[in-house]
Symmetry: C2
Subunit: 371 residues, 2 copies
């Protein structure tokens, strides 16, 4: 960001801010940004397009001779993906000052029992524990936030539309479930004497699908992305099973109903299979976010000005914008990606589409800066 | 073994032999032994009791002034557990000269794509590739083989009987199955457009249980001990699933029928869920083994001589004896273990029961040595 002429600062949790001072520097700035972390075996567009795109948008505005009134900031959020601690959007949650989040983070451990604070220290963030509370920004700290991102769904590509403008972000809930049985030798314990934690987990994964399909709406989705067995040997009955489940909807009540049904199934399965339901933790159950009208409008005008067709749409994926929405009006700009693939090595967005998105972002930032 | 006064040799794959020469050293020896490797998070009795027990039995015979006619050997088999390469009883299979096994072993890779030969080299076995064929013993190389082992099942403890004498070992089949789907983002891909490899795996694990229960016999058991998802992130639809399945029976035909039904289910599930069944590999499908009458008889007489109650029984777990049976008459001596637990940290056998087993083993070896 420095090479783009931005003055850079970093907060205690690792969010990085690059600032281009405007002529009315004391007024709330306009921010744009995203993340650069990724899940294992992911692609290189998710998040990255929104960070490099924001830096590029500012570079273009600067080289065009544009003079911002409100300052413009690029934010590179830390740890958007919930890979290590099961908690998504660490950076933006901390910025948004989510109630209770600091305590959750202080207690968070990874699969190897390493605490968040230890991991942060290893990465060079020594004061994360002491300064975590101070990361939170006040409501209204920014005048607007806008995030450029690949769609991570197939709609724009299918419809041949180069720009999506997001009016709402679907609400995710994350669950962690642990079953425990007696285990034993795969040859020696006869079937009636087993209580197999792995089969309980298999049933629960299928129950998640069943309850999601029964919701009555295409907008409800549910995924068991993590299912781990312990000890995990071919000749050993699984003694422990660990699941991580993601349930989303644009309707919060409908989603919470599915979460409730999954919880009921988890208990029933435990009783039927005589395994212990050791844990059923709702890691987060965030409300959906709605975009700020003025930010959506600025983006729509920018697309129109550029002659780029756009579509107002819902984001079913989870973004830092979901949390930024709590402290500032936000919107998102989507660009098409190949077959809607994301979180895969073959995730791809064309240069043309990314350039289009960056242009819309640049003009949106310019308009908001003058507002 | 050296400290027990045995002359020690090791073969190219890592089986270790300790020999006490008898007065009729040119005749086939009597062997006893087991393994000391373990699955992750296992106990310390499975296998170990049979290696230390055989050494102790020979020490006791020696200190009692016994003079063997046939030589007595202790064998410590390498890699009985299928933990790393999915292949159980590497050492005894190699000794038994199983047809095709050398080729299987030469192609075997672990989960990190490390070949068996590379792993063996890292462990100091540099010539394993070149000399693998030469490890095999001729049929009749030993006059008899007898293995002391914890029961790994609850029968002896429940019935209060200190010694089990094994007349047959149940036949294990091991399967490896891989499903592949499109994966994608857990929020962005709507349910009708998914082909979730993890849910296919969950269904197959439950189908294994269903087919085993439908076999009509208590002796049929089936276990999905390994179920791994890729990429294994909460916000990612599983794109790949890897299962390892163990199916056993004392009736080979009935077991093979279950394997066939599991294979049919694996295909049906793939079709219904529009995932690819990338692999359905029958890693092994060994025939059951029956004990040698004269070895069983020697063990029965030994127990009677010691005034220890015994029970003739079937081994449902998988042992090196299963393979030794192909080249020599064999039997096994079981001692009770706590609740039948095995492959767990709380696996336990009492000193009293182990001592009883070692005594039976010592007298059995003495009798067979004089035969």
């Amino acid at each position: 960001m420095k090479s783009a002429g931005l003055s850079v600062r970093e907060d205690a949790i690792g969010n990085i801010f690059g600032r281009w001072d405007g002529s009315e520097n004391s007024r709330e700035a306009i921010a744009s940004g995203s993340h650069i972390d990724a899940i294992p075996y992911a692609g290189k567009y998710d998040g990255v397009v929104g960070v490099l795109g924001a830096i590029e948008a500012i570079r273009v505005l600067r080289s065009s001779g544009f003079k911002p009134r409100r300052s413009l900031e690029v934010i590179m959020f830390t740890s958007e993906e919930p890979t290590r601690f099961g908690l998504g959007c660490l950076g933006s949650r901390a910025l948004a000052g989510q109630a209770g989040f600091v305590d959750v983070l202080k207690k968070a451990i990874d699969i190897h029992n390493i605490s968040f604070a230890e991991a942060a220290k290893t990465a060079g963030y020594f004061e994360v524990h002491e300064k975590l509370e101070k990361v939170a920004l006040l409501k209204g700290a920014y005048s607007a936030f806008i995030e450029l991102h690949i769609e991570q769904g197939p709609t724009l590509e299918k419809e041949g539309i180069p720009v999506g403008i997001v009016t709402a972000i679907a609400a995710p809930a994350s669950l962690k479930v642990e079953y425990k049985g007696n285990g034993g030798h795969a040859g020696a314990v006869l079937m009636p004497f087993r209580n197999d934690a792995g089969l309980a987990a298999a049933e629960l994964a299928l129950a998640v699908e069943e309850h999601v399909l029964a919701s009555g709406s295409l907008d409800t989705v549910g995924t068991t992305g993590v299912l781990e067995l312990h000890p995990g040997a071919i000749n050993s009955i699984p003694r422990e099973a660990h699941l991580e489940i993601d349930i989303r909807d644009i309707d919060e009540k409908r989603r919470d109903m599915v979460v409730e049904k999954v919880q009921q199934s988890a208990s029933k399965i435990a009783i039927n299979r005589r395994v212990q339901l050791e844990n059923f933790i709702i890691v987060n159950q965030d409300p959906p976010a709605h975009s700020g009208e003025e930010v959506v409008e600025a983006a729509v005008l920018a697309a129109q000005q550029l002659g780029l067709q756009h579509k107002l749409m819902i984001s079913r994926a989870y973004h830092d914008s979901l949390f930024m929405a709590r402290i500032t009006p936000m919107a998102m700009i989507f660009v098409p990606c190949y077959r809607g693939y994301s979180h895969r090595l073959d995730e791809y967005a064309s240069e043309e589409d990314i350039v289009g998105g960056v242009k819309v972002l640049a003009l949106t930032l310019a308009r908001l800066s003058l507002s």
